[in-house]
């Protein structure tokens, strides 16, 4: 080999390193984009869950005396954090897919549980499955004249 020349093996190694570096940059970038999307989706999921939970436990819904066939927004409270037994029974009778839509949770699954001091008052409404990402919210409410804990879970299946 003459002075100042490069061997074809050196050139190939250099090109290979170059391709690897470019690929690594691209992979890292795609990974960052995915993470950003995942974070945005999780933020959306947690805010959607929080808004549905607030509406369920703090409002009467719309119209205020809604029935299964007239409901536009499901609210289960007589007063904030005081749940209506009648409305919970109607909520239980609404088909799951319709309930998801009315709670603006089309993209997710949900479960709504009431755990009372008296176990016969306990309720489970919604999906029984557990998904990948879970947002779990709970609060103390008044139900049937006594204290109860409401747990609202939202997840992706």
């Amino acid at each position: 080999m003459k002075k100042g020349q490069i061997s074809s093996i050196d050139a190939l190694i250099a090109i290979l390193i170059f391709v690897l570096v470019i690929s690594a940059i691209r992979t890292i970038w795609l990974d960052n984009v995915n993470t950003t999307y995942k974070n945005a989706n999780y933020t959306e999921m947690s805010l959607s869950s929080q808004q549905a939970f607030d509406i369920l436990t703090k409002t009467r819904g719309w119209p205020e005396n809604w029935e299964a066939n007239t409901v536009f927004i499901i609210g289960l409270a007589d007063k904030p954090n005081v749940l209506s037994e009648t409305k919970i029974n109607i909520f239980e009778s609404i088909p799951y897919a319709d309930a998801k839509e009315m709670l603006s949770l089309q993209k997710y699954d949900f479960s709504f549980d009431i755990n009372s001091i008296n176990p016969s008052y306990n309720k489970h409404i919604g999906s029984s499955l557990d998904g990948n990402i879970i947002v779990s919210l709970n609060k103390r409410v008044i139900y049937k004249g006594g204290e109860a804990i409401v747990t609202f879970k939202v997840f992706t299946s």
Partner: protein, 123 residues
Amino acid sequence: MLSSKGQISAEIIIAVIVMLILFVIVLANNFAMESSSSDVASSINDKKECIRFAYLISQVYSSGDGSTASFDLENSATIYSTQKTITINQESCYFLAPTSNYSFSKGKLTLFNVDGNILMVMQ
């Protein structure tokens, strides 16, 4: 060839061509990532604004009659009351409140809960 003065070897020409090709590849890659990054950032910002706005509407509703809030809208937004949907550019999200259809351009909004209905006024 009569004189070798001022000549360059074929290897150097090939090396320069290879370097130019690699430079073009880097440049194209960089350009693609930059424009894609800007699309991703813009779509995520729209989505974030949409969900913050939707959440605020729902909060004003759940806080009861007489509650108010204000929101700085950075993009045009359309509110579809029956679908309970907000659309900002290509992004959409859901709120939970009875309201009317609205179409707003960028600006400061005030939200009012009047008898359980959400009214929105651009200032």
